[in-house]
């Protein structure tokens, strides 16, 4: 049996939508368990006091990336049938900057705002309202800025193609970067926990 199962017609659209709800439930469950429904905890990422966002994101990326790599290597999954988000260099750089400023201001991202709201956080609800407003602003501006939004298109362009290395090598490099980032995050959190000692050393 070959994955992705939906792509190979193992089940239909109705089952696909049931799976959407079930995967969403698991996604929301883990986000809340990890404290991602709490804006104060998320904001710690931007002041180097709580780097849960980095640890959680990198752990998730590495897990799914290794899973895809091994399943494809074992011949159980056709990687060419897995959707790769398309690259639009300029709008993704500019959009990323704008998104990041919003992330630090709002303290939650679109997905985690739903978890915050679900657990009664009013700031989560306010952020969801802001998201709707932002999408509407973008939609209304689309006739004017659509040209830029569609510019520098590179299609389903992957890092192995861009740097000319094998898929496995890039996977290995990302795992190494993630492990380094985890070590750095732990060191930063330890440092933030001991302000008294740090002051003594400074004095």
């Amino acid at each position: 049996m070959m994955a992705p199962l939906y792509e190979f017609g193992r089940f239909g659209d109705g089952m696909g939508l049931v799976i959407a709800v079930l995967l969403g439930i698991a996604f929301g469950w883990f986000l809340e368990q990890g404290g991602m429904g709490n804006a104060r905890k998320l904001a710690g990422q931007f002041y180097f006091t709580d780097l849960s966002v980095l640890k959680l994101m990198f752990s998730a990326i590495v897990t799914a990336m290794l899973g895809l790599f091994w399943l494809s290597w074992a011949g159980l999954l056709d990687l060419s049938r897995v959707y790769v988000p398309e690259t639009f260099i300029a709008p993704q750089l500019v959009g990323g900057l704008v998104f990041g400023v919003g992330f630090a201001t709002g303290g939650l991202c679109p997905g985690t705002s739903c978890v915050a709201a679900a657990t009664g956080r009013k700031d989560g609800l306010a952020l969801i309202a802001g998201m709707f407003a932002g999408v509407f602003v973008f939609g209304e501006a689309f006739p004017a800025i659509g040209h830029f939004a569609d510019s520098t298109a590179r299609g389903a362009w992957t890092l192995p193609q861009a740097v000319g290395l094998s898929y496995g090598t890039v996977v290995g490099v990302i795992v190494a970067v993630a492990l380094g980032a985890f070590a750095g995050a732990e060191w930063l959190e330890r440092r933030a926990e001991r302000p008294a000692r740090r002051m003594k050393i400074a004095a």
Partner: protein, 173 residues
């Protein structure tokens, strides 16, 4: 519901959990997780109801509206996000973490925090649509599938956040 809130789980454990969910999405559906697309579907559907000719004239909205025969809210991401709300609620209830409150630093008022959350959400709405995704659809899905644009987005988002953070210190202290 418990009286005392349980401590949050390790971000490594929950991160691996989300990674397995993401991998299941790839294996079952051939697509990843997302969030901002669901917001777009809702806005497009709302405009299609209140101002159909206005929505029909705009390529951004029509991209989220199907041929008219099916309801655009039956979108995969909309159902996934409904699931996220259910999962977050279940987890919050079982861990005793339900609170009708406003999470903020001590340097600002509740009102100011809600204004900031709305403003941040608006900026993220614009940024996510310009980039065609957010921390879920580009960050997690594109990160794991090694999409170049997704990694550029992740780096740019952290640069933007760290550039803005010093100006917002009071809001989170």
């Amino acid at each position: 519901m418990r009286d005392k809130a349980a401590p949050y789980a390790s971000p490594y454990v929950t991160g691996v959990g989300i990674g397995v969910v993401l991998l299941l999405a790839f294996v079952l559906m051939g697509r990843g997780l997302g969030a901002s697309g669901a917001f777009s579907s809702v806005v497009a559907a709302a405009l299609n109801t209140t101002a159909p000719s206005h929505a029909a004239a705009n390529a951004f909205y029509t991209g989220y509206l199907s041929d008219g025969a099916t309801n655009p809210l039956k979108d995969w991401l909309v159902l996934e996000i409904i699931g996220v709300v259910i999962g977050g609620l279940a987890s919050g209830l079982l861990a005793g973490r339900m609170r009708w409150t406003t999470e903020r630093g001590t340097g600002i008022t509740d009102r100011r925090r809600l204004v900031n959350a709305f403003a941040g959400g608006t900026a993220m709405g614009v940024g996510a649509k310009l980039a065609r995704g957010c921390t879920s659809g580009l960050g997690l899905t594109g990160g794991a599938t090694l999409s170049v644009g997704s990694w550029l987005f992740i780096i740019a988002a952290f640069v933007g956040a760290y550039a803005a953070a010093p100006l917002l210190r009071r809001a989170w202290r």
